[in-house]
């Protein structure tokens, strides 16, 4: 099953997207948050008990207010300070963002947290859970009202070129005019599929891996026919790897 995404198109026509967080990851984040709130409540209880000796009435009154503030304020404070994340959401790698891809405002954070009162009805977030599964962007009622969505947080590192493309000897390079023809006749989709196959080859079992690369090798051999000595001793996978290097390294020299 392909995961659902929130896709945005900028006025410049650029399309970007975020993968949406599923109900299960959101539920797990909620459980972690509930555990955090429970721990904080215990701590408050311990600290307040010290002040019981001064005034039991005042200490209990303050404890009641702090319990309430923790339950209501936990989500609001963390989501605002950590830009859409609570402890649970951070552990699960998910984040609340504005439904239009804009900046999350304090009003949105407060509203989606206040509406938990309805989402948690009648028990165990049943209303919110059902809403998450039936809405297009996996939104509970609080998200719908506040116009927010919960996405999987993409903490991507600056990309580096795959080591696959930094290969040593490539027999195909000895025929630069054929390499040029190969680049000319290959579509970006074909090039992408070959690169994808190379990058994910370790995920495949032996037999499907063999069959896939033989199939791809035949496909590229039909586009441009290299001399027999260029292919001598090359397996289908090695041939596809050389093809990928030729396609993605315009600067490659034979």
């Amino acid at each position: 099953m392909t995961s659902r995404r929130l896709t945005m198109r900028t006025p410049e026509g650029i399309v970007f997207s975020w993968p949406l967080a599923g109900p299960v990851s959101r539920m797990l984040a909620l459980l972690i948050d509930m555990a955090c709130i429970g721990t904080a409540l215990l701590l408050v209880q311990r600290v307040i008990s010290i002040f019981q000796v001064v005034s039991a009435d005042w200490a209990t009154g303050i404890a009641v207010i702090l319990y309430f503030a923790l339950q209501i304020g936990y989500g609001i404070a963390f989501e605002w300070l950590w830009r859409g994340q609570t402890i649970g959401k951070r552990v699960l790698g998910i984040r609340v963002i504005d439904g239009e891809g804009l900046r999350l405002t304090p009003g949105q954070v407060v509203l989606r947290n206040v509406l938990r009162a309805v989402d948690s009805m009648p028990a165990f977030y049943a209303v919110g859970g059902i809403a998450c599964t039936v809405t297009r962007h996996t939104q509970r009622l609080g998200d719908l009202a506040a116009n927010t969505v919960v996405v999987r947080h993409q903490q991507a590192a600056t990309p580096e070129l795959s080591e696959t493309l930094r290969l040593r000897y490539n027999s195909l390079r000895q025929w630069p005019h054929l390499c040029a023809r190969l680049r000319q006749r290959s579509t970006p989709e074909e090039a992408g599929a070959a690169l994808d196959a190379i990058l994910r080859r370790e995920e495949l079992d032996a037999q499907p891996r063999l069959e896939l690369f033989d199939h791809l090798a035949r496909h590229f051999q039909n586009k441009v026919e290299f001399p027999a000595e260029a292919l001598d001793g090359l397996s289908g996978e090695q041939y596809v790897r050389d093809v990928v290097q030729v396609l993605f390294e315009a600067s490659a020299k034979g």
Binding site: M8, T10, E12, G13, I14, V15, F16, S17, W18, D57, W58, T60, G61, I62, V64, I65, Y67, F68, I72, R83, I97, G101, L102, R103, P106, G107, Q108, V110, L111, V114, L115, R116, A117, V118, L141, G142, L144, A145, A146, N147, Q154, Q155, A156, A157, T158, P159, L161, L165, P188, A191, G192, A193, A194, L195, D196, L199, F248, E249, A250, S251
Partner: protein, 330 residues
């Protein structure tokens, strides 16, 4: 077009990293200068173009995800048009923003009042024609009994159960009432149906209690008991109802042709302001209910309690009607 990925990464990585640093600064709360804003826009356009070029390569998913996330972050900063408040100031917010928002949506408040009055009427009428309905209309131990017995008990001396627990009782009242107010607000998401039921039910209880005590000849006790905190508590719940109708109105969009998301975007600030204002009012009501309302004659004469409630009501009305008008005119 097949791009030379190595050259693509090497030549563009400094641009992406510069934009990442600039975004980190802005997201941390640094207000960007004019030069920063122009630079960000330039970097955003370049990175967007890089993303468009790379999007032809499904295989380069890591780089695609990186650029997508980066463009998403910059988009949020560049296309956000809502004013970012430098710092939240509670006093100007409560004495300015809250009453102004209240007046802007006074129609929704009127609707909440009308529904509650309707509930009061129904509660009084139901109890007038069927005395046995008391247990159904007011299923609370403190209200089910005979009003006369309650009055004699209260007037016999201060409630001993509350002795030494008034602060706790006050805190419990505050938190409970704020929960009720927030729940009423949250019911606005049911297109207002839940809010109508909630406000009507509150009205039914209030009407039935008022009728029960008035019929038994204890109107003074009732006013002295309810007015000190009720003149703040009941309007606070009505303000929460008002917020819920603002939310419901944004969801329904009757007479408003803007998309639902835009309507909700515009309403969010008002809803949250009204909810916050109601919460502050309920803090005051909780203190008054615990420390004043629970004392009856002879400790506190009913006339004094009613006068106190009346003064509160006048001040609340003046506050909601006039506070923050100066800035409104500006």
């Amino acid at each position: 077009m097949i791009i030379d990925l190595e050259r693509f990464f090497v030549s563009n990585r400094p641009t992406w990293q510069e934009m990442e640093k600039l975004l980190d600064r802005i997201e941390c709360g640094d207000r960007p200068t004019y030069t920063d804003a122009r630079r960000l826009h330039y970097l955003y356009e370049r990175t967007s173009a890089d993303l468009a070029r790379l999007s032809t390569f499904a295989a380069e998913s890591d780089a695609g995800a990186y650029l997508s996330a980066l463009v998403g972050r910059a988009y949020a900063e560049i296309y956000e048009t809502r004013r970012r408040k430098a710092r939240f100031s509670p006093v100007p917010w409560f004495f300015g923003e809250f009453p102004r928002t209240f007046r802007r949506h006074v129609g929704a408040f009127g609707l909440a009042v009308a529904i509650t009055i309707g509930g009061c009427g129904f509660g009084s009428f139901a109890l007038a024609i069927d005395t046995d309905a008391k247990h159904v209309l007011m299923p609370f131990p403190g209200l089910e009994g005979d009003p006369g017995e309650r009055v004699h008990k209260e007037e016999a001396g201060p409630n001993q159960k509350l002795r030494g627990h008034r602060s706790t009782f006050s805190a419990e009242l505050m938190t409970h009432n704020i929960r009720v107010a927030f729940f009423t607000l949250a019911l606005g998401v049911t297109w207002g149906v839940g809010s109508v039921l909630m406000l009507f039910y509150n009205g039914v209880i209030l009407g039935a209690v008022a009728f029960d005590y008035a019929r038994a000849g204890y109107t003074m006790f009732l006013l002295g008991w309810l007015m000190p905190h009720g003149v703040i508590e009941i309007p606070a719940i009505l303000v929460a109802g008002q917020a819920s109708f603002v939310l419901a109105g944004a969801l329904l969009g009757r007479g408003d042709r803007r998309p639902r998301r835009e309507r909700l975007r515009n309403a969010t600030s008002s809803i949250v302001t009204l909810a916050g204002g109601a919460a502050v009012m309920l803090v005051w009501a909780g203190i008054v209910e615990s420390f004043i309302s629970q004392y009856h004659r002879p400790v506190l004469p009913y006339e004094a309690k009613i006068a106190f409630g009346f003064v509160e009501l006048v001040l609340l009305t003046a506050f909601l009607a006039y506070s923050g008008r100066k800035d409104e005119a500006q």
